[in-house]
């Protein structure tokens, strides 16, 4: 398995995606400062009170990150999977004496793991930088507590895995049409819906757990369906 992962990474460069993750991190860092500064811009607006809580600020940032990384995951899946199986490279892939299912599983694992790892690293970096600067110049009047940090990290893991699963679901939809465009559009539509639902989960965690379970089950069904399609595929 590790040999196949190594070969997969050798065949597909991740350099441009690493740059994209770096850009996303910088933009998201800017965004969290912007959200933290909003109540100071208009102190009389009562609706902006939400932005005076670290839980909301960090949670909000995680949800936006989830949307962005879900689309990144779909782009990655398009490049690593849809494009390869839709092109003449499929003949090459199927000429290797390795199970088709195994090759697909490795590809999906690479896409999923890369999405999750990048989102975790990106958001942890944002959290560290933001909390350090908050200890020097405070933008948010809320108090930083250990329990708040632990909860944020746990939620981050949950959102990161969700973005990976959403990438697989988009791939499932896009692969049906063997279309990169369909994969990315599916991801965009799904993240719009998910962001609406997830916004509620900031204040009510059970919703997050329920949605996580549903998304996870759909992604597993997608993986199974993709494996069956690949095994029956003729090139």
């Amino acid at each position: 398995m590790s040999k196949l992962i190594h070969l997969e990474l050798k065949r597909n460069h991740l350099k441009s995606y690493n740059i994209a993750v770096l850009i996303i991190t910088i933009i998201m860092l800017g965004l969290i400062y912007f959200f933290a500064a909003i109540p100071k811009i208009d102190p009389n607006e009562s609706d902006l009170e939400l932005f005076t809580s670290y839980t909301f600020l960090i949670g909000f940032n995680h949800i936006i990150s989830m949307a962005i990384f879900s689309i990144l995951s779909a782009v990655l899946a398009s490049k690593f999977i849809v494009e390869e199986y839709a092109s003449k490279k499929a003949i090459l892939l199927f000429s290797y004496p390795t199970s088709r299912r195994k090759i697909l599983d490795v590809k999906m694992f690479v896409v999923f793991a890369y999405t999750v790892c990048c989102m975790v690293i990106s958001n942890v970096a944002i959290l560290i930088v933001f909390l350090i600067t908050e200890s020097i110049v405070t933008l948010c009047p809320d108090r930083v507590t250990i329990s708040m940090i632990i909860k944020s990290i746990l939620l981050l893991l949950c959102y990161s895995m969700m973005s990976g699963f959403l990438g697989i679901i988009s791939l499932w939809i896009g692969f049906y049409k063997r279309s990169i465009v369909a994969t990315i559009i599916a991801a965009c539509i799904m993240v719009v819906l998910m962001c609406q639902i997830m916004a509620i989960s900031i204040s009510f965690t059970p919703i997050l757990i329920g949605i996580f379970a549903v998304v996870c089950i759909i992604a597993l069904l997608g993986r199974r369906s993709l494996c069956l399609q690949i095994e029956k595929m003729e090139v």
């Binding site: 003949i91 199927f94 000429s95 004496p97 199970s99 003729e234």
Partner: protein
């Protein structure tokens, strides 16, 4: 004395969207020989190659390679086979050597030296060059190197001399004969250059509209048809129609 068979296909048929493109084909390829497969564009040569390799499943009939079923024992067949089907594709950002190395890692088993493989196809001087800079002829040579780098027992080459210059065609002819004679490989190849097939093949199969209509030897063609293989091919594929 009967020789061992490398490939056997019997009653092989393939249907796409209700249209039968391969119709009850039978073919045998003996071990350690070169089998030339001739037919017009769209006759079904590539489809048969794909079914032998397990890239497509037959609608009816079966194909066996070294006694193994093309569908059930697909991975074992692929391990023992080197192939070039349709236009060769590579990982463009990698060099020729890196492409071969990657292929060897996927294929596993006993491999030849990459330099040796590149030398065999006349590409020893461009091993470190990115494949994206290769000409059509170089890509074709590299595809042949990739097909033989893992020392397969069987080579299935779909129009391997496409895009090669006369020197390249002669080099490949010599290479194919060397592989069969010295390395005991079996080669199944197709080409539109009839004279090449006539020169290298021990046995020739003709396919017309999805049916293998004849299997013969170059000597038999010479004996039976004094006008040569080209005229024989036209006679078979056009049912004897001549424009002369």
């Amino acid at each position: 004395m009967s020789r061992e068979l490398a490939i056997t296909i019997s009653q092989l048929s393939k249907t796409f969207n209700g249209r039968e493109v391969i119709h009850q084909c039978n073919m045998t390829v003996e071990k350690g020989t070169i089998y030339g497969f001739l037919g017009k564009n769209g006759a079904g040569k590539t489809t048969i190659f794909k079914m032998i390799l397990g890239l497509m499943a037959p609608t009816f009939g079966k194909a066996t390679v070294f006694g193994m079923d093309s569908v059930k024992d697909n991975l074992e067949i692929l391990r023992k086979t080197g192939s070039l089907i349709e236009t060769p594709v590579f990982y463009e950002h990698l060099s020729a050597t890196e492409n071969l190395k990657m292929h060897m890692e996927y294929m596993g088993g006993r491999s030849r030296d990459m330099e040796e493989a590149l030398q065999m196809v006349g590409l020893s001087y461009v091993g470190e060059q990115s494949v994206s800079t290769f000409s059509m002829g170089m890509r074709q040579r590299l595809a042949i190197a990739r097909a033989l780098v893992h020392r397969p027992e069987l080579l299935i080459l779909d129009e391997p001399i496409n895009g090669l210059d006369p020197e390249g065609i002669r080099d490949m002819r010599k290479l194919f004969c060397y592989l069969v004679k010295e390395e005991k490989m079996t080669i199944l190849l197709s080409s539109h250059i009839l004279s090449e097939i006539e020169q290298v093949a021990n046995r020739i199969g003709f396919i017309v509209n999805g049916t293998i209509v004849e299997e013969t030897t170059p000597d038999e063609i010479k004996d039976k048809h004094s006008l040569g293989i080209e005229d024989y091919f036209m006679k078979i594929t056009k049912g004897g129609r001549s424009y002369e």
